[in-house]
């Protein structure tokens, strides 16, 4: 249970990282909470580890023009304790508490979790539900990839081996929004068997104007349930609307079966979580509108 030998470099700026990862068989190390176990098991045997945690420009949480900019090596704990995130992006705040344990969240990073892209992880689904934009540094400048195009498969993303995820940008959420995150795991801190991230937007008269329903454990990547979302938009988000939406979402679901749960079991817990999560998010959206009216 010891890593195979590798070389190590810890650049202090982004161009230093890009130079280092241009070498064949280099691997980026951020918080190490997924990579180091893989090194210990020798499932990963890179020739060079490029530690990006010394790049000061990659660790920040700031609101610019209503949007949240998250530096890739910002830790889960930084996000968990951020009043800014709690107030404006409660879906992210809620989901981050489910990641591993406090000791994992203290070291693990937002960018690391997204670049690792475990389909059972919380953050990929949250980024999908929030329509996040991923900023990627390449040898020929930056490029931006929306979350829906970022996750390609089991542990596969849009990142090339010589690129660096530098920042995640979350859009502004207008008044009348409500969110919910829930997951089922066998033990506290385990990867989820299934989970649901919901972000709803309502108009001043309570009509759903946009809906995002992202599912964990429903496939090799986190999925958006477009069937569910289409059914919700234009509705008043009553329990009946939500029940119909969950029914149509489940028709297209084909979750994987493994030692921890059959496909049918996963489908049933996804349905129960969607129903409960959408009801809570609809209530919060109503409360958000009323709170705003009171403030005026």
């Amino acid at each position: 249970m010891k890593p195979a030998p590798f070389d190590y470099i810890a650049p202090t700026d982004i161009s230093g990282v890009l130079d280092a990862v241009a070498v064949e068989d280099a691997k980026i190390l951020a918080g190490g909470q997924s990579l180091v176990p893989m090194l210990n098991f020798r499932l990963a045997r890179p020739a060079l580890l490029v530690d990006i945690t010394r790049v000061h420009d990659l660790r920040h949480l700031r609101r610019v023009d209503g949007r949240l900019h998250i530096g890739a090596v910002t830790t889960h704990t930084d996000v968990e304790h951020s009043p800014l995130v709690r107030e404006h992006w409660p879906l992210l705040s809620d989901a981050v508490r489910h990641i591993g344990h406090s000791q994992i969240r203290n070291a693990g990073t937002i960018g690391g979790s997204l670049a690792h892209a475990d389909p059972a992880a919380e953050l990929p689904a949250v980024m999908l539900a929030l329509d996040a934009q991923m900023t990627i540094a390449t040898g020929s400048g930056n490029r931006t990839v929306p979350a829906r195009d970022f996750f390609h498969g089991y542990l596969q993303t849009a990142l090339a081996p010589d690129e660096l995820l530098t920042e995640i940008v979350l859009p502004h959420l207008p008044t009348g929004s409500g969110a919910d995150f829930s997951e089922i795991a066998r033990r506290s801190g385990d990867f989820a068997l299934a989970g649901v991230a919901v972000q709803l937007q309502t108009s001043t008269d309570g009509i759903c104007t946009s809906a995002a329903v992202a599912l964990i454990g429903a496939g090799p990547v986190p999925l958006r349930s477009h069937a569910a979302e289409q059914r919700l938009i234009g509705s008043e988000l009553t329990s009946g609307d939500i029940a119909e939406c969950v029914q149509s979402a489940c028709l297209g679901l084909n979750p994987p079966a493994d030692l921890h749960g059959s496909a049918d079991y996963r489908r049933r817990i996804l349905a129960a979580q969607m129903q409960a999560g959408l009801e809570r998010a609809a209530m919060l959206a109503t409360a958000d509108r009323r709170g705003h009216d009171h403030a005026r």
Partner: protein
């Protein structure tokens, strides 16, 4: 290939040459002889190897020693001073409440909970269990561990089991 590491451990500066693949847990135990940090699973599940890096509890089996260059590490050895024969109030409370059984998981739990000292008095039992969820005790003695943490968070009773948080 070895690399130079300059790290403060329990208030003492150490300068060593290490292989990049050396885990912090092995660096502490094998290079520095600080065997209070226990190694269980070596893949971040059991929590036995928890130490504090810059004040935050982390798994030392998931940190490379080279990553601690320029940082400050605290291990269980820092909780008490063998010279003056006084244990940390959290250790006293574990002793008084029979919260150690085999003792293997204890250092990791102490370093996890010690970082929460400021909040401990206000924490519910549920919050304490949540804080403990990253530390496995295979003697399954969580009840006494929670009692000890509770006692450590209460005002002192003159028997060395409180007055710390």
């Amino acid at each position: 290939m070895t690399m130079h590491v300059d790290v403060e451990i329990n208030g003492v500066r150490h300068r060593r040459e290490v292989e990049p693949r050396t885990l912090l847990s092995d660096f502490l135990r094998h290079d520095l002889g600080l065997t209070g940090t226990h190694v269980g699973c070596e893949h971040g599940v059991c929590g036995a190897c928890t130490v504090q890096v810059d004040g935050r509890p982390v798994r030392s089996c998931l940190v490379l020693a080279v990553q601690t260059h320029g940082r400050s590490v605290r291990t269980v050895e820092d909780l008490s001073d063998p010279e003056d024969d006084v244990m940390h109030p959290l250790q006293e409370a574990f002793h008084a409440n029979h919260a150690l059984q085999c003792g293997f998981c204890t250092p990791g739990i102490l370093m996890t909970i010690e970082a929460l000292s400021a909040d401990l008095a206000e924490m519910s039992d549920a919050a304490i269990l949540e804080a403990l969820s990253g530390n496995l005790c295979r003697c399954t003695g969580y009840r006494n561990i929670v009692c000890a943490i509770r006692a450590a968070g209460e005002p002192g009773d003159g028997e060395g089991t409180g007055s710390w948080a």
